[in-house]
């Protein structure tokens, strides 16, 4: 295969629609190259030969110089993909090449692959390869709007240039693909990721069947250089966990196909009533899967009771509720075994919802999730208030830690918790509680975009629905900018920033947070969008409501009736739905009907309907004929009944200051003519 063929095959493998919005790691090893070359009958040797030659237009001689020339001005060449990706893939391949040198050495592997002496040192111009990595980031994020994936040129490890290819090797594609199995085995909830500090422990405990030896080695390494790579690995794992929808494929006896089973974690919710010293505990869960249309009926293993729920909003379920007896009663969360946990199953829909067993449970205010009360979480964050529920065995440790490392700790003396459990309120935690995983405080923050509506799969948002910027585990002092301009934070209680209203559309918007140790950034773009050119695809319905052909005799599209139909004129009636109390007035002074005490007039045609909104407000509606619109008010002799004339005058003239006149100017003019006429009757 020639260079560009290899380049296209490799690029398509790593950058494609399935990676939209996700971070791409350019992890390349012999297995990857061989599998990509297999359909063409070639392998690693052919690949290396192709990068030695480079693309057809290369004239320079050095390896890195060829890579640079491949990158130069490539966008003007009409190529589908950046033509230097094969070079970057080669640099990563070198990083996973075993040599006789120290494990952290990079260049011997580089030369070994090129069949050159391994001690040749740093390749000429290697320091300029950062230009290629940066360009790849620009291409994926700004040119392609992350629609094929997001590449981030990270420098990991103590060596700047070698750190770039090395950072691609933290996790192989195989490992990434199989992470859901690990998550499932570890009982992780994708909607409630644990603190980054406890991810290594989880990976070690549940990763033996999924993770390669080198990954496990990285997790166990105590070397300073590896700390940065380990952090990168944790970030990727957390990203993958959040992308996971909780579905795992299971082999079911007697069934040919794998069955998709949805797993998620049950969250305890606490409603505190300080006056009554009462905690009411109920349960709900969150999922990124869509709920079945008819909701879920979840049963415990004893199968006695079905607990119903459906989606409330944003993937949150309603509280689990008993609806079998006609009355609605929430499942009492304090009746569950908090220490051992419990499992609820909906067999028909293949959903499993598990309450994790734990001696310590953490709760945060639900307001960030649009929920009332306190909602269970797996992550302790800085600068926030939490409730901690714990059983007797850990009481001493938690109270000691709380006094030392929390700005505020106070026991909530409430009933309603399971026997032996205590509830404390803590604020501004500064350090982790040793030996209790859930009370680990992360020092790293994450930049996330919340809400907003994307126009597609990449990083483009509708201008009318931009995202908001949130920092998870915020220290409270971050400065968030967009293209260098500081963003505003409407409510200092929440680490959420908003984009200004006059953000330009169609331009890359770099949202950045500068932290002490590093910088977090995301690039988005806002777009104006119009209506589709055509609505020809919109189907028609027949008179029974079934989708039908566009030549059906009488058909409906939305609210429009098309085709040949018999026209029956509408017998319009005087409107009594405008309000509970309406005074109808006719054109003759004294034509008045106070509905509903009096009947709707039948002997004369009302011109005005005055609707009582309150004692101090009446609204006017014109209900006359088209002729009355044209003619306006023309003096007419009053009716004989003087009391009716008086009421007519009262409605028009006496109450004129508390009557809101019609909005249409010409109608208002007619109304004013009536008011003036009423003055003189």
């Amino acid at each position: 295969m020639i260079y560009l063929e290899w380049n296209n095959v490799i690029t398509k493998y790593f950058f494609n629609e399935t990676k939209a919005g996700k971070e791409v790691l350019l992890y390349v090893n012999d297995e990857t190259i061989n599998s990509l070359g297999e359909p063409f009958g070639v392998g690693v040797d052919d690949f290396i030969e192709s990068v030695k030659n480079g693309p057809g237009w290369i004239t320079r001689t050095g390896f890195c110089q060829k890579a640079l020339q491949a990158c130069e001005d490539w966008r003007s060449k009409g190529l589908e993909y950046p033509p230097y990706i094969s070079y970057l893939a080669f640099f990563v391949l070198a990083a996973v090449t075993e040599t006789d040198y120290a494990p952290h050495s990079y260049y011997p592997g580089f030369w070994k692959r090129l069949k050159e002496p391994q001690d040749a040192g740093t390749p000429s111009s290697f320091h300029r390869m950062i230009e290629l990595w940066d360009d790849l980031e620009k291409w994926s994020r700004e040119d392609k709007h992350e629609e094929l994936g997001r590449f981030v040129a990270r420098i990991r490890g103590g060596y700047m240039h070698v750190g770039l290819p090395r950072s691609q090797t933290v996790l192989s594609e195989y490992e990434r693909k199989h992470l859901p199995n690990l998550f499932d085995e570890g009982g992780l909830d994708p909607t409630d990721a644990p603190s980054p500090e406890i991810i290594p422990k989880i990976l070690r405990n549940y990763g033996h069947d999924v993770l390669e030896k080198r990954t496990l080695k990285l997790l166990d390494s105590t070397q300073a250089d590896d700390a940065v790579l380990r952090k990168a690995l944790i970030e990727v794992v957390l990203d993958e966990l959040e992308e996971w929808d909780g579905a795992v494929e299971e082999i079911v006896a007697g069934e040919e196909q794998l069955r998709l089973q949805v797993h998620t974690g049950l969250r305890l919710c606490i409603k505190l009533d300080p006056l009554a010293a009462q905690a009411s505990v109920y349960v709900r869960f969150k999922t990124s899967r869509m709920f079945p249309e008819d909701g879920l009926n979840l049963r415990e293993s004893d199968g006695k009771h079905a607990w119903f729920c459906r989606e409330a909003h944003q993937g949150w379920s309603t509280p689990l509720t008993d609806i079998t007896n006609g009355s609605v009663g929430k499942l009492d969360g304090s009746s569950l075994d908090w220490n051992k946990g419990t499992l609820f199953v909906d067999r028909d829909n293949h959903w499993r919802v598990r309450l994790r067993g734990a001696d310590v449970r953490l709760f945060r205010l639900g307001v960030m999730d649009g929920l009332p009360d306190w909602v269970e979480t797996q992550k302790l964050e800085r600068g926030r208030e939490f409730l901690i529920a714990f059983s007797q065995g850990v009481e001493g440790r938690i109270k000691k830690w709380g006094e030392e490392y929390c700005e505020h700790i106070k026991q909530e003396h409430v009933s309603g918790l399971p026997p032996g459990w205590t509830l404390v309120r803590v604020k501004n935690v500064t350090a982790s509680c040793p030996g209790i995983d859930i009370l680990s405080v992360s020092t790293s923050a994450r930049l996330i975009l919340i809400e907003g509506v994307k126009s597609g799969r990449g990083n483009i948002y509708f201008k009318f629905a931009p995202p908001r910027v949130a920092i998870e585990n915020s220290s409270g002092f971050e400065n968030v900018t967009m293209n260098g301009v500081q963003l505003s934070r409407p409510d200092v209680r929440f680490p959420i920033w908003v984009l200004p209203g006059d953000v330009p559309s169609g331009q890359p918007l770099r949202i950045e947070v500068n932290l002490e140790e590093h910088r977090l950034s995301k690039i988005i773009r806002l777009e104006e969008f119009g209506l589709p050119v055509s609505f020809d695809e919109t189907p028609y319905r027949d008179s029974s409501g079934k989708i039908c052909r566009s030549d059906t005799q009488v058909r409906v599209c939305g609210s429009i009736v098309c085709g040949e139909k018999e026209h029956i004129s509408y017998p319009s009636l005087i409107p009594t739905h405008l309000g509970d109390k309406i005074v109808f007035l006719g054109e003759k002074p004294g034509q008045v009907a106070d509905w509903p005490h009096e009947a709707v007039p039948s002997s004369w045609h009302p011109v005005w309907a005055l609707v009582c909104r309150s004692r101090k407000q009446w609204d006017v509606f014109f209900c006359g004929t088209p002729d009355q619109v044209k003619i306006g008010y023309s003096f007419d002799k009053p009716v004989d009944d003087r009391s009716c004339v008086k009421r007519w005058k009262e409605a028009l003239w006496v109450r004129r200051k508390i009557t809101v006149p019609p909005e249409i100017r010409d109608i208002r003019r007619i109304w004013e003519e009536y008011v003036r006429a009423a003055r003189n009757v």
């Binding site: 609605v328 119009g530 009636l573």
Partner: protein, 335 residues
């Protein structure tokens, strides 16, 4: 929020139902109270029905697609000045154009907004143009380059052309069939819902079966051992009519029609009643006593501005007799 949903839908023109669901999840933020209440009503399903009934879009559940309709001005069945509602797709630019076209005719026309609240907060603000005459509405529609239908009120046209239960019943083919061994629910005439707990097998019943592979629902109407496939919405009314049960509540004085949420009107008739005002029906609960066949504290959709003639026409199409009652706040609890 309400406009965000329709703007996003309109921009896409058409989308898969799954994409709509995702979109809805991103934009729907109810208040705490609604989060607690919504166990009884599937909000997304309600919103889908309302969007469909107001003529904004067509939900094709068999094809699993949502299609936006052409932006149009349709006449409401009001008394006095002609009033047209904007239905179909919309965008911020279209609304600006519409405002501009009304502004230059401000002596003769006015643009009105009505924002929905509560559970209906996800429904786009209703936009109306009230004018001195029909011609002004035509001029505005032409300026904005949108369709108008003002020859007769959309509600009246839809109610007239809608099929009736007679036609539907004629199309049912009852055959002796083996009941599938899929998960079954039976429509309960006492609770007006499909229920898995109905134990006895009466001579006639409406059953719902869920295909375990595709998860599609199928509805069969059973009569003396023979069954006919039936559309779910029509099927419920066929069953109720056969049982002689009336469930449509009407307040003649307030011109309001209440339809149980669990027995929604067939699509064309639902559009007819929704387009009497062009606004979403109010979701409410009936009083603690049953009204006719409607069980106590049952969720209902209350449509406003339903004149007696339209209410009777809709009821007659469904072989229902209107239950005349008061639909005021004392009798209904708004959700």
């Amino acid at each position: 929020m309400s406009d965000t949903l329709i703007y996003a839908m309109s921009t896409r023109g058409s989308m898969k139902i799954e994409q709509f669901n995702e979109l809805f999840r991103r934009v729907y933020f109810p208040s705490f109270e609604q989060v607690e209440e919504s166990v009884e009503v599937d909000i997304r399903r309600q919103i889908v029905r309302v969007l469909d009934s107001l003529g904004y879009c067509e939900f094709d559940f068999d094809g699993r697609m949502v299609y936006m309709c052409k932006p149009s001005l349709v006449l409401l069945p009001v008394f006095g000045l002609p009033k047209a509602a904007l239905v179909g797709a919309r965008s911020p630019a279209l609304i600006q154009k519409l405002k501009g076209a009304v502004k230059i005719r401000r002596n003769k026309a006015v643009l009105k907004y009505l924002h929905h609240s509560g559970i209906n907060a996800a429904i786009p603000a209703a936009i109306f143009i009230e004018a001195m005459d029909i011609e002004t509405i035509h001029e505005i529609a032409s300026d904005v380059r949108i369709v108008y239908e003002t020859s007769w009120p959309a509600a009246w046209a839809l109610a007239n052309i809608s099929s009736s239960l007679d036609t539907l019943k004629e199309s049912l083919i009852f055959e002796s069939r083996a009941e599938p061994n899929w998960k079954r629910r039976v429509f309960s005439k006492e609770r007006l819902v499909f229920s898995g707990f109905e134990s006895d097998n009466p001579a006639s019943y409406l059953a719902e079966y869920k295909d375990p592979v595709s998860q599609q629902l199928h509805h069969w109407l059973w009569k003396d051992g023979a069954a006919a496939f039936v559309d779910r919405d029509w099927g419920r009314y066929v069953f109720l009519a056969d049982e002689g049960l009336n469930i449509l509540l009407y307040d003649e004085k307030l011109q309001k029609l209440a339809v149980p949420v669990t027995v929604p009107l067939p699509c064309v008739l639902a559009r007819a009643v929704a387009l009497c005002t062009g606004t979403a029906p109010l979701l409410a609960k009936t009083c603690p006593e049953s009204i006719g066949t409607v069980p106590p504290e049952h969720s209902v959709q209350i449509y406003s501005g339903i004149t007696h003639v339209i209410a009777k026409l809709v009821a007659s199409k469904l072989h229902q007799k209107l239950i005349y009652t008061r639909l005021n706040r004392q009798r209904m609890d708004a959700l």
